[in-house]
């Protein structure tokens, strides 16, 4: 895409410098140290380390259960992203019609983002408990239908729903903001041409929302790969029998809880490469379909 640009690049340098300095100080410098451990066996209390080259990587990549964990992570990422983005888009585009009660919907749909993580865990425990509440009702009608304690697929469904839930509110905010930055004139023009509401949504609003959609999609996929250990930790702890053992949870478990810094670092590198590749693919193939101006 060709654009009109400002010429004075020193202004640009000044603009990006603060963020780059912070990122270097608090992210790249420490991260590079952590990643160095991937090629060593690091003693947690700092007694030194031994260089082992790619040993940590070969050990991980020759483990069939690790590949299973990659698969589980992909299922989680696709499931939670599809659910969270789809729900949020639907809600935002209808909320944007601004019918009566719009303000109530708007606040009600944004607010859940504010709830603190441990409370989310407890609430979903109430919701998904086989012996109580909603699921007790399901199990009374269809005995033994719902049993996430033994059934890995159901445990995964449970984690996906809980993971997507908070993300819906997050996505909703950005979709709503995106929809509201669409020039009113365009929609009015569409209406004058005789396009009805649903048609305007499809032909005008959705295409113009594409930049925001792309943003939300990329962020959701990245987040579901890298930031989802909390929900797994409180709900299933990776079980039953590794059915919800997503990659980042294993990293958290090995490195943060088990003090295996080298193993966790090697897994982090693999995860990063995977997510970078996925993001790259999205930028390359999906962003092409996005029209910015």
């Amino acid at each position: 895409m060709r654009r009109a640009y400002f010429k004075n690049n020193w202004v640009a340098a000044l603009m990006v410098a603060p963020q780059l300095i912070i990122v270097f100080t608090f992210f790249y410098f420490p991260t590079s140290q952590a990643l160095y451990w991937a090629f060593t066996l690091e003693q947690p209390w700092g007694g030194g380390n031994t260089w082992v080259g790619f040993d940590n990587f070969t050990a991980i990549l020759s483990d069939s259960l690790y590949w299973a964990s990659i698969w589980v992570s992909v299922v989680y990422a696709v499931g939670s992203t599809a659910l969270a983005v789809g729900m949020a888009l639907l809600l935002a585009i209808f909320a944007d019609r601004q019918l009566a009660g719009y303000k109530l919907y708007k606040i009600g749909l944004i607010w859940p983002y504010a709830i603190a993580a441990p409370a989310v865990g407890l609430a979903f425990r109430f919701i998904f408990t086989p012996g109580a509440g909603l699921m007790m009702f399901v199990n009374q009608m269809f005995p033994h239908l719902w049993n996430p304690v033994d059934n890995g697929n159901q445990a995964m469904a449970m984690v996906i729903i809980a993971g997507a839930w908070k993300q819906v509110a997050y996505n909703f905010i950005f979709f709503l903001a995106g929809l509201q930055s669409i020039p009113r004139a365009l929609i009015e023009a569409g209406a004058m041409d005789g396009a009805r509401v649903l048609r305007r949504m499809r032909d005008i609003q959705l295409p113009l929302l594409a930049p925001t959609f792309f943003f939300v999609l990329v962020i959701n996929i990245t987040d579901s790969f890298t930031d989802s250990f909390g929900i797994v930790d409180t709900m299933t702890a990776g079980g039953p029998s590794r059915a919800t053992n997503i990659m980042v949870y294993k990293i958290f478990n090995d490195g943060f809880q088990g003090l295996d810094y080298s193993g966790a670092a090697a897994q982090s590198i693999i995860l990063m490469i995977l997510v970078i590749a996925l993001t790259f693919v999205q930028f390359r193939y999906i962003e092409r379909k996005v029209h910015y101006t």
Partner: protein, 443 residues
């Protein structure tokens, strides 16, 4: 009641702020207990600070052992570590290998503080000692696993408290026959109970090298012992409906199910004794007993759980003096009594236990029954297979065990295959741990 304490404390502080507190030598103490237990630790700190005017313990609580150990490592490597750290059983091997600590026996000797080390229960002391018997950290909150049972349910089927696993199975059958609707045994997979305590009590090895005490080239062997058969038994009980899975992913864990009078049995830490006392369904009558032993086996002592206090390296002598005073303070009979009566933990020294018993502490509710834990820990003098477990990567070993056991219980594989698998994966972890500390030996 509670509300007045901070006010009083602040008042007291205000009075002596001008004189003593300014000159007090401060040292940091980080602990991993939270909730009510964390509050009791904080009170212990306050008592210590009020007891003398030379040192001040600055106590910081974290939510969980993993978190406090992680924070302490980060701080240690940046040179900002606390002088005293509460660390859990699973972190023991890493700390011992690091050498970045001041052994408590050495420290007390250096500061001429008399502690009768022989007074500690051997089952507790051995867990925190080197292979030569030198105690490296100070035992603090200690527990062991016990069997909780519903006395009314047992009486209804006219059965005694089961002493061995055959009797236990017979009791489950009787309970089920009497009341098919009730869950007889709320089961929650726990490597600590089903594997570690079982192996110690039945005197079977969990790993080679005397459970890791004699070297780093240790291999797990629990797939070849009766521990594997025990797991098969549990699975057969679950399959026959004699036991039911009660884990938090299913809404309530085994302790909650027991407390709500849903299940007749569960196994857990003696520390739960206190919380069960505080919260249980109306009319629930319950008691604790030692974990059953395999029929025909002699009972051996169970192993200690919980955490101990480590003195970290690299602090000033003044701080160490303060820490030594603090450790001395928490070892006094009064402090121990304060600790065990406000928590579910057990006293760590024989004299404290004897004194509590003589005072009648264990003869009446709510503390009655907790002496069972001491009986279990001291059933025999600990031998090479009942001292504890000196294994690296303990957290991951337990996680692998749990994943494979879940697969077996869900019927995806057999118990034998699951145990073989978790041993194989565990051995890879132990191998890696040994390589990480290549050239070093276990103290």
């Amino acid at each position: 009641m509670n509300k007045t304490y901070p006010a009083l404390g602040a008042l007291a502080l205000a009075f002596c702020a001008t004189t003593a507190s300014a000159d007090k030598i401060k040292f940091d103490y980080w602990y991993g207990l939270s909730g009510d237990l964390g509050a009791v630790v904080a009170q212990t700190c306050d008592h210590f600070n009020a007891s003398q005017d030379k040192y001040e313990a600055v106590c910081t609580g974290y939510d969980g052992y993993e978190l406090v150990v992680q924070s302490a490592i980060a701080a240690f490597r940046a040179g900002k570590a606390p002088a005293l750290l509460q660390s859990f059983d699973a972190g023991t091997a890493d700390l011992m290998m690091s050498g970045q600590f001041y052994p408590v026996t050495q420290m007390m000797k250096d500061f001429n503080i008399e502690i009768n080390w022989a007074d500690y229960f051997p089952g507790i002391a051995d867990y925190y000692s080197s292979s030569k018997g030198e105690m490296f950290s100070m035992p603090f909150n200690s527990s062991t696993a016990v069997m909780y049972y519903n006395t009314d349910d047992l009486a209804a089927v006219n059965m005694p408290v089961p002493q061995d696993w055959d009797e236990f199975a017979a009791t489950l059958k009787a309970l089920k026959a009497k009341n098919p609707a009730k869950c007889s045994y709320g089961y929650e997979p726990s490597a600590w109970v089903d594997l570690e305590q079982y192996s110690a009590i039945n005197n079977v090895p969990l790993a080679t090298n005397n459970n890791g005490y004699d070297g780093l080239d240790t291999k797990l062997v629990y797939n070849t012992t009766s521990a594997e058969k025990h797991m098969e038994d549990i699975k057969s009980w679950l399959d026959a409906g004699l036991a039911e899975m009660k884990v938090s992913a299913g809404g309530m864990n085994s302790q909650e199910a027991f407390a709500q009078n849903i299940c007749s049995f569960f196994f857990g830490s003696i520390a739960n004794h206190s919380s069960l006392n505080l919260k249980h369904a109306d009319g629930l009558n319950w008691n604790v007993a030692m974990i059953p032993v395999e029929k025909g086996n002699t009972r051996h002592n169970s192993v200690v759980g919980g955490a101990s206090l480590w003195v970290l390296a690299g602090k000033s002598e003044d701080e160490y003096r303060g820490v030594a005073e603090y450790l001395k303070f928490i070892s006094t009979p009064d402090s121990i009594k304060f600790w065990v009566s406000n928590t579910g933990y057990i006293p760590v020294t024989k004299s404290a236990f004897d004194k509590l018993t003589a005072d009648g502490f264990y003869s009446a509710a709510p503390y009655k029954g907790r002496e069972t834990a001491i009986a279990s820990l001291t059933a025999t003098e600990p031998g090479p297979l009942n001292r504890g477990f000196r294994l690296g990567s303990m957290i991951q070993l337990r996680a692998e065990w749990l994943s494979d056991v879940q697969a077996a219980l869900a019927g995806q594989t057999t118990v034998k295959a699951a145990y073989d698998m978790s041993v194989e994966r565990g051995n890879a972890l132990l191998d890696k741990f040994a390589k990480t500390y290549a050239g070093k030996t276990l103290p």
